[in-house]
Chain length 313, copies 2
């Protein structure tokens, strides 16, 4: 394979109760990226559309991951990258994770599938260090594995794939404001009451059990966040109104996507997800807040090939 | 039905990572109790074997639960209770929960199955108040539902049944010392670092996922407790040595049963569970510590009827 065009999904990290441990990938929203082998032995970035990101490979998330993998595999070729961002950085939908995991997935294709998904996640985590300063795995793992994932452990890294019921549909509203991950991290207290922690892990257990058995009522009852949401929701305009509107329209639950400002809701079926979108829509329209809205099933495979070229170019 | 003899299982609460939220019931260890309808309209306790417990119904866990249920159901009969304790109070194996849930289960039989398992759990929780001062649900829910359970929420009470792989076998060693639940609670700090909490709920997610998929490696990796075990293990003689011996013999994991002093290990298959028992055995034998040891599969149904009499007595 000499050239591959791939889709790298947007992802929702945390998923209410699963703060810093869970994530899922979207089917209908994500970046497109083209990776082309070159004789140069270096990584170049020739095109970036849809966002202002560095062209210098060492400062670009996708570039850093690509360089690392070409070095690790002692490859005899270089790569040129073109990035077509379909959702903007700072949305809370894993923009840097899409670039990082998309790069890891694509380079692995060019290398003939040398690495496992776990290894790709580790490479992609280096991209997250460039983007936000820490090697967090929830978004990149979701983008690589697809579906719901649990980051059970970091050292060693242990990613658990959790089944996602096919009827599950996400509605996501992205108010066009910036919430810096750093600021969102600052409001989380370094210690939490043991009672809060117990309630949170009981909900993680309920959510994971509900995903395994397609028990939508249990999923709904478990989509509760006692830790991040109460601390962060003031950073997001009209969070409670949007969440309540979603739940009134039948959403199983709603919460902050990653560190925000996007708000996600999960529904059973497309019809409910559409009604939820309309209700979320109305809140921000009435308040004159710029926003984007997305409706998507859960991705079952994460990053994927759109097309590829095998002949030499 | 005029008389029912029942089996009420011993239970392991917490299950390492699932502190105050998970539990499972044993198949081979539990109390026997006989409940007989009387014309008296009161609850009496005519026999207690195997432990020193109060005969006064208002002070006896089984008596309290029986009285409550007869009142709630406006029954026209009284009940006499005989209790045959097969494992002693203070073991960390849910002795009071066996009495409470056994009573709830048996009275429900005499009432013609009026109540759901959730309602029986709520009645049995009143017995736990008498026994230890707080209405904890993990042991009683495990004893009523059987298998693994998750207490997802208290208000309202929400019990989630988690599948237990049939090959799972518990080995339990009970050093003959007393650890008061109250003392064991005191050593748990009221606040924990958010990083510890995240690691704990990631393991809860892993354990529940592993139980759903019979992934024994994942169960093993997830049987980690960062919260109660480090704080409590000094209360249990040679805890680390016993745990390490169990794991060296192939146990998937080991930890404190409830608030101790019993130590449980989980293994795949009876042969490993036997080897684990021998290794645990040896530690306490060498150290001259009195102990009892049990090997048991996971109960699939919780409290159950041994036999019953339908004719008037």
């Amino acid at each position: 394979m000499n050239q591959v065009k791939i889709f790298a999904p947007a992802t929702v990290a945390n998923v209410s109760c699963g703060y810093d441990a869970m994530g899922f990938a979207l089917q209908a929203l994500g970046d497109e990226m083209v990776f082309t082998k070159t004789d140069s032995n270096v990584v170049t970035i020739s095109k970036i559309e849809g966002a202002e990101l560095p062209f210098e490979a060492d400062k670009n998330v996708a570039g850093v991951v690509a360089k690392l993998m070409l070095e690790d595999s002692k490859s005899d070729f270089g790569v040129d990258i073109q990035i077509f961002k379909k959702f903007i950085p700072g949305s809370g939908l894993g923009s840097s994770a899409a670039s990082a995991s998309g790069s890891a997935f694509a380079i692995n294709q060019l290398l003939g599938n040398k690495y496992s998904n776990l290894e790709l996640t580790k490479f992609a985590m280096h991209g997250e260090v460039v983007a936000c300063g820490s090697a967090i795995a929830d978004n990149v793992a979701a983008a690589i594995y697809g579906g719901f994932i649990l980051v059970r452990n970091y050292q060693p890294l242990d990613i658990v794939e959790i089944p996602s019921p096919s009827e599950l549909v996400a509605t996501i509203i992205h108010p066009q404001i910036e919430v810096k991950t750093e600021d969102a991290r600052k409001v989380i207290k370094p210690e939490i009451p043991i009672k809060t922690a117990i309630a949170q892990w009981a909900n993680v257990g309920g959510l994971i059990s509900g995903l395994h058995t397609s028990d939508f009522d249990l999923i709904s009852r478990s989509l509760v966040d006692y830790v991040a949401e109460p601390a962060r929701k003031h950073l997001i305009p009209h969070f409670d109104a949007v969440k309540n509107a979603a739940i009134e329209q039948g959403a199983l639950g709603a919460g902050i996507s990653g560190s925000g400002p996007s708000i996600f809701a999960l529904s059973k079926g497309v019809e409910t997800a559409n009604n939820v979108a309309e209700a979320m829509n109305k809140i921000y329209k009435d308040k004159n807040i710029d926003y984007k809205i997305y409706i998507s099933r859960i991705s079952t495979h994460g990053a994927k090939i759109i097309n590829s070229v095998n002949a030499s170019l």
